[in-house]
């Protein structure tokens, strides 16, 4: 089980958290100008690296706050 570093509660067991997927998804800066491909990229395409990833976590059974963390998807090590 992962030990997830909540910035407010410290490292806690993964079962206290909900995973929010890759972070830093920017809403299209000019939505009216975005074509279908741009919307598809925004809605469906996410980072899927084998290595460090920035991701969202929600401490649902703790402080109930969202935060970003950086983790290596191959080693599962949290990188601060």
């Amino acid at each position: 089980m992962l030990r997830v570093p909540c910035p407010w509660c410290g490292p806690r067991d993964e079962i206290e958290f909900r995973y929010g997927g890759p972070a830093t998804i920017a809403y299209p800066s000019d939505p009216d100008a975005a074509d279908d491909a741009a919307w598809a990229a925004f809605l469906f395409v996410r980072a899927n690296p084998k290595g460090p990833i920035d991701e969202r976590w929600y401490h649902v059974a703790g402080c109930r706050r969202w935060f970003d963390a950086r983790r290596d998807t191959l080693t599962n090590e949290f990188l601060g």
């Binding site: 993964e14 491909a37 598809a40 809605l43 084998k50 990833i53």
Partner: protein, 382 residues
């Protein structure tokens, strides 16, 4: 041409390229060993009872191919049509299931509604008590569904493709896909460069990494999917049982192990291992449904890396790069589809155009909006 990925789908595609299209200058490159990825790590369940027309068509094609595949490959795949049952535990489940049964029948897929008495007759070990937390109200049943020996299928395809002249190259990890003028010209592997006018990416959990080498960002997320087996037991479980609400699927392998699986580990990952609470949850679910399993012991757990698409349907077809083809995104349910996946990919590569069965599964559906949402049709994460 080069097929990136020596798993079930890649080996099947190589075989059908040679058999149906006379294309034998094919190299299947595999970074590990043949059939050592997800085709060695699944739970070997086969069925075709998907909700939408597009899915029913391709999975039913696969099931029909399974029915003659042992003879075709001259290899006993231990394909056993012992039926696949999907339990319903709420009024919502029942409505969803009956809708799916009707949709299946309209598509020529065998599907039956089972009452609680029917379930007791087919699989007496399911706890059908009315006073449990999630009482069973009925079930879907596909009698032609079942299980097979996953390794035998992959080895059978490998042997048959090899006999037709296909080159199978192990220990060759692709590090680059070369292009000129918008067309592929070859791949660079850890065992050298291979010139190729056509390349197919059939790399399952690593599909998005390989596609990025060609500048293509795929709408895929890779996750560990875990499964487990018990020690060998006497034959006790005669069919395949799935439950969405209690969330586990269970069959008994020919050798005697109870084989169980459930959902993915939520965090993205490539480590081929998951967290223990996922295993605990699926064992708790299995014991809830089958109290007789309470004293069985876990023999082994493992994980594979599955490539999940936004609509839980695969991506099979052309890519934005000329001569580069995609067969990926099968997520948690690719094993059953292997014969049809390889067959339509071979057609797509040979004709540079999709087969009717995989045309709806093009990458373009994510910008056209014609998604094929199969999140619900599987009963469980499939």
């Amino acid at each position: 041409m080069v097929i990136v990925g020596g798993g079930g789908h890649g080996l099947a595609a190589a075989y059908y390229l040679a058999r149906d299209h006379g294309i034998t200058d094919v190299a299947v490159v595999e970074r590990g060993w043949l059939a050592g990825g997800n085709v060695a790590r699944n739970t070997a369940v086969i069925r075709s009872n998907y909700l939408w027309d597009e899915s029913a068509a391709i999975y039913e094609q696969a099931l029909k191919m399974w029915e003659t595949l042992s003879e075709e490959l001259d290899y006993d795949l231990l394909f056993s049509q012992r039926g696949v049952m999907g339990l319903c535990h709420s009024v919502g489940d029942v409505r969803e299931a009956q809708r799916r049964i009707n949709a299946n029948r309209l598509n020529g897929v065998d599907a039956e509604w089972l009452t609680v008495d029917d379930i007791a007759r087919i699989c007496p070990i399911v706890d059908l008590s009315p006073d449990v937390r999630y009482p069973v109200l009925g079930a879907t049943f596909q009698p032609r569904g079942g299980i097979a020996k996953h390794d035998h299928m992959a080895w059978g395809y490998a042997r048959a493709a090899d006999a037709l002249g296909v080159d199978l190259i192990e220990g060759a990890e692709v590090s680059a896909i070369e292009q000129r003028g918008g067309r592929v010209t070859g791949v660079v592997t850890s065992r050298g460069r291979i010139a190729a006018g056509k390349v197919a990416i059939v790399a399952a959990g690593h599909a998005s990494i390989v596609a990025e080498m060609a500048g293509i960002r795929l709408p895929l997320q890779s996750h560990p999917l875990q499964a487990l087996v018990s020690e060998l037991l006497e034959p006790i479980h005669p069919t395949v049982v799935m439950s969405n609400a209690v969330h586990v699927y269970v069959s008994q392998a020919h050798k005697g192990e109870l084989v169980m699986g459930a959902g993915i580990d939520p965090p993205n990952g490539y480590s081929q291992r998951g967290s223990v609470q996922i295993i605990e949850d699926q064992m708790a679910a299995a014991i809830e449904l089958f109290p007789i399993f309470a004293r069985a012991h876990v023999l082994r757990t493992w994980g594979g890396i599955v490539d999940v698409s936004p609509d839980a349907s695969p991506i099979v077809g052309l890519s934005p790069v000329g001569g580069l083809y995609l067969d990926c995104g099968w997520g948690t349910g690719g094993f059953k589809a292997t014969p049809a996946s390889g067959w339509v990919l071979a057609h797509t590569v040979a004709n540079d155009a999709p087969h009717e069965l995989n045309r709806p599964f093009a990458l373009e559906r994510f910008s056209s909006g014609a998604l094929i949402d199969e999140h619900g049709a599987a009963g469980v994460a499939h």
